[in-house]
């Protein structure tokens, strides 16, 4: 595990020289992707219908509306909320919403005393099966580098100001556990239906960088 000497026969695979193929590929991203897709298709290594199915799934089916449904249930049903906090993988799996990049899920709740926010400093791990593809800001160098060292400053850029007396917990997703923030239910929302509640839940509120919509904002 400690640093050591490079072996002669490792020379061509030396990690510190970077990508093998980068300088052999077109620099324009459109052409670069096209080149790889053409090679893999010619070679019979990809089925174009499989690529279309993947893109369709994330463009049209798997997105933050799934997470919003889960949060709305947690806001309206105390037993569901308790089970979600106890074993989110089981609860969300029973709903059919665990899956790729959402195999193991832990739900963490925002309270009057604690605000939770999620990041992946090492890459861009995100609960794809319930929130879809992560937004650009989540994958950005700025967010990944800053939110662990200056969570309050980052949150204020999102328009979320946390009073100094409240604890901020930053969850750095370094393993295959995916974190879902249960935001606090907006004031006055206790009589809304699950569908109406789901309309208040924003993507960012489930990552911890936003708050749910207020009743006024939803109308």
């Amino acid at each position: 595990m400690s640093s050591g000497h490079h072996h002669e026969d490792d020379h061509h695979h030396d990690h510190h020289h970077g990508s093998l193929t980068h300088s052999h590929l077109p620099s324009d991203p459109v052409l670069r992707v096209k080149a790889i897709e053409t090679l893999l298709t010619q070679k019979g290594l990809v089925d174009p219908a499989a690529l279309d199915a993947l893109i369709d799934a994330y463009q049209n089916r798997i997105g933050p509306q799934i997470g919003a449904k889960i949060i709305a249930l947690a806001w309206s049903d105390p037993d569901f909320r308790a089970e979600l906090l106890r074993d989110a993988t089981k609860v969300i799996g029973d709903m059919g919403f665990t899956g790729l990049q959402g195999e193991h899920i832990v739900a963490v709740e925002n309270t009057d005393d604690v605000h939770n926010v999620v990041v992946c400093t090492l890459c861009s791990c995100y609960p794809w099966s319930i929130l879809g593809i992560p937004p650009v800001w989540y994958k950005s160098e700025a967010y990944r580098s800053r939110v662990v060292i200056d969570p309050r400053g980052v949150l204020s850029e999102f328009g979320v100001d946390i009073v100094p007396e409240k604890q901020v917990r930053v969850w750095d997703s370094t393993a295959e556990i995916r974190y879902l923030v249960i935001p606090q239910r907006p004031h006055g929302a206790q009589d809304l239906s699950v569908e109406q509640l789901a309309a208040l839940v924003t993507r960012d509120s489930m990552v911890g960088t936003g708050l749910p919509k207020t009743l006024g904002e939803a109308t």
Binding site: M1, S3, G4, H15, H16, G18, S19, L20, T21, H22, L25, P29, V30, V33, A35, I36, E37, T38, L39, Q42, K43, L45, V46, D47, A50, L51, L54, I55, Y58, G99, L100, Q101, E103, H104, T121, L122, C123, S129, I133, V136, W137, E141, A142, Y143, S145, V148, R152, E157, F158, Q167, V168, R169, V170, W171, D172, S173, T174, A175, E176, I177
Partner: protein, 219 residues
């Protein structure tokens, strides 16, 4: 490995790039890059950790020059060459020589839907009892391994507290290098923001990080 992907705590990346009404993909080539990367993963020639490590093996200059999906497509090219699915000659020429000889068809749309639904859980049985209980204090190690690892640099050599135990999970440090899954107990460790970043941090704040048994020693 100590490289630029390990971004927690770096200064200078500027404000968070926020965008209203962000599309799932900004360009068609981004969707194609995502789909190619995921469809090629289904051959089983590399695993999730090896895929992440391929991104990390971009040089720091390459990593910061390339956008998120450019990293994906470039490291996919690297992975296909390393796995023997494409040759450097084919990459350079942009022309495939013949078809693959893997003896089966690539994953189809139905197969993709199965992968999305089932995911690839990382939980594994572990024979030994957990060394730590909730509430135990631990120290993280200070190693600088050249291999793939999921202990961020900003949390090395720090004292924290075990707050969650996730059971056994395969170990990225070996799995990324095809040296076996070698499952270990996985914990969430809470670090006070002051332990990580010093006095300017809010005394209430903390960072929660998922860490494997061998990163930890009793404190």
């Amino acid at each position: 490995m100590n490289s630029i992907h390990d971004m927690g705590g770096i200064h200078g990346f500027g404000p968070i790039p926020l965008e209203d009404d962000e599309p799932v993909f900004h360009h068609e080539w981004e969707a194609r890059a995502m789909a190619l990367r995921m469809a090629m993963g289904a051959w089983g020639k590399w695993n999730l950790d090896a895929g992440r490590h391929a991104n990390e093996r971009l040089s720091p200059q390459q990593y910061l020059t390339l956008s998120y999906y450019e990293r994906w497509i470039t490291s996919l090219a690297d992975l296909t060459v390393e796995a023997g699915l494409l040759s450097m000659d084919e990459i350079s020429a942009g022309q495939a020589s013949g078809t693959h000889d893997l003896g089966r068809d690539p994953i189809n749309a139905e197969g993709i839907r199965g992968v999305l639904k089932n995911g690839r859980p990382s939980s594994r049985p572990v024979e030994v009892a957990p060394r730590f209980q909730i509430g135990d204090f631990v120290h993280t190690n200070k190693d600088s391994p050249e291999n793939h690892t999921r202990l961020p640099r900003y949390a090395r050599g720090c004292k924290g507290k075990i707050v969650l135990h996730h059971g056994g999970h395969l170990f990225p440090d070996t799995n990324a290098h095809f040296k076996g899954e070698c499952p270990q107990h996985l914990y969430t460790v809470e670090f006070s923001a002051r332990a990580l970043w010093g006095a300017p941090a809010n005394e209430r704040d903390s960072v929660m990080i998922d860490l494997w048994d061998s990163y930890l020693e009793p404190a």
